[in-house]
């Protein structure tokens, strides 16, 4: 979706302002927000693509005025409601009022190291060979899907070149919506800065994205 998350090339946000010796957390609630989000994800009711889509579905004014952990928590409330784990009444009362759906699992403290070490690999074996090979000229599709996609707006309808064939990966555009993993080949595609940004572009700039096969057409 052309949501607030699709930031590449937008202007007006001001300087980057890196903080010297920045701590990992700026308030104790951020620690709990990280942990609650990971524990809730471990229930197994949604995947990483659905959670990304929940975050980018915040109203743009809300997204841009929220810190990243605030975005996480707001999206988490949406996911928990959607999957029947919390209700509006629970949230309104700040307490467990209504019964919850049954999670696939509950992450216990003793299992955390193993779960974090394992992560969630998204590569999948592919039955079909890759359509493109390194060096092939390609053009990215021009589309504006209303659902989740990982092709940023700045890289749509652009001519580039396949730099590397990666692996088969879960396709976020369907997986985010409960429509299956439908794995596709992923490629690293390089674009000249001038192809993307046109007049006035930095002539020394090359940008790459990692693109699922269905985002690409031969050029």
């Amino acid at each position: 979706m052309n949501g607030p998350q699709d930031l590449g090339g937008q202007m007006g946000f001001g300087p980057v302002a890196p903080e010297k010796d920045e701590p990992y957390f700026h308030a104790d609630w951020e620690r709990r927000a990280l942990g609650v989000t990971l524990c809730a994800g471990a229930m197994g009711a949604w995947n990483i693509d659905e959670s990304r889509h929940a975050r980018e579905s915040l109203h743009p004014a809300d997204y841009y005025s929220s810190s990243y952990y605030q975005i996480w928590i707001k999206a988490l409330e949406t996911l928990l409601k959607r999957h029947g784990f919390v209700s509006e009444r629970d949230l309104g009362a700040g307490d467990a009022i209504d019964a919850a759906a049954t999670p696939k699992r509950v992450l216990q403290a003793e299992n955390v190291p193993a779960v974090l070490a394992k992560g969630g690999p998204c590569d999948r074996p592919m039955a079909e060979p890759a359509r493109f090979k390194a060096g092939d000229p390609v053009r990215t599709k021009n589309f504006n899907p209303t659902g989740h996609t990982r092709l940023p707006r700045y890289a749509r309808g652009k001519r580039g070149k396949i730099e590397a064939v990666r692996d088969g990966f879960v396709f976020p555009d369907s997986n985010a919506h409960g429509q299956g993993e439908n794995p596709q080949w992923v490629y690293t595609v390089v674009f000249d800065g001038t192809e993307i940004w046109g007049e006035g572009a930095d002539p020394t700039l090359v940008v790459s994205i990692d693109a699922w096969e269905s985002y690409l057409e031969p050029a």
Partner: protein, 201 residues
């Protein structure tokens, strides 16, 4: 006007919101608060940019490892036991005299947690995510890094599940240094691409 000095009411509204959510989920038996403690401790004390710095220092010291890291970063990094969440699929990209690499995630905040730990706020915020792909030199200037005009800049937008680690150029004057000493020269920002490796003092 009432003045309730109950501790919860001194929390800022968002802290109260997170606490309420944790309370609800805990009372429903959906999460284990002790698991949150372990997660926080892991990312606050165990996993951080020192992991990545050791990967870089080994690549500088051991050409066979550097070659492996180039071909199969996931396996090479796993051999040092740095595995896990948001590091399942790794790519290492090597700076050269001709090309400087910079990593961004314009669509969210994808970042190689297993080697760099949790991302800094600026990496997740709109100014960096919007500008890194269109004005990388301007962004690097804000980090105090001015690249030669002829240097090619390669920006890697992490749009899929590959996570990128920049391997900076080994500074001159470090011949014969141990990996441990070399790792001290490798900052988090150097492995994102917003800095170079530190020069030896």
């Amino acid at each position: 006007m009432s003045h309730d000095h109950d501790h919860d009411n001194e929390l800022d509204p968002f802290a109260a919101r997170v606490r309420a959510l944790e309370t609800i989920l805990t009372r429903k038996g959906l999460i284990d608060p002790a698991a949150i403690d372990v997660i926080v401790d892991t990312y606050e004390t165990k996993i951080g940019p020192r992991n990545g710095a050791r990967v870089v220092a080994k690549a500088w010291s051991d050409p066979a490892f550097a070659d492996w890291l180039k071909r199969d970063a996931t396996a090479a990094i796993e051999s040092l036991s740095y595995t896990g969440r948001q590091g399942e699929h790794m790519q290492a990209v090597f700076n050269t005299e001709e090309t400087h690499n910079l990593v961004v995630c314009t669509l969210c905040s994808c970042y190689p947690w297993s080697v760099l730990g949790l991302p800094p706020v600026w990496y997740k915020a709109p100014p960096y995510r919007s500008r890194a792909v269109i004005d990388p030199r301007g962004v690097l200037e804000e980090f105090g890094l001015t690249l030669p005009a002829a240097t090619r800049i390669r920006v890697w937008d992490s749009t899929a599940e590959l996570r990128y680690l920049v391997v900076p150029i080994r500074p001159a004057g470090t011949e014969g240094w141990s990996e441990e000493r070399l790792a001290e020269l490798v900052s988090r920002d150097a492995m994102i691409g917003t800095a170079l490796a530190r020069e030896p003092a």
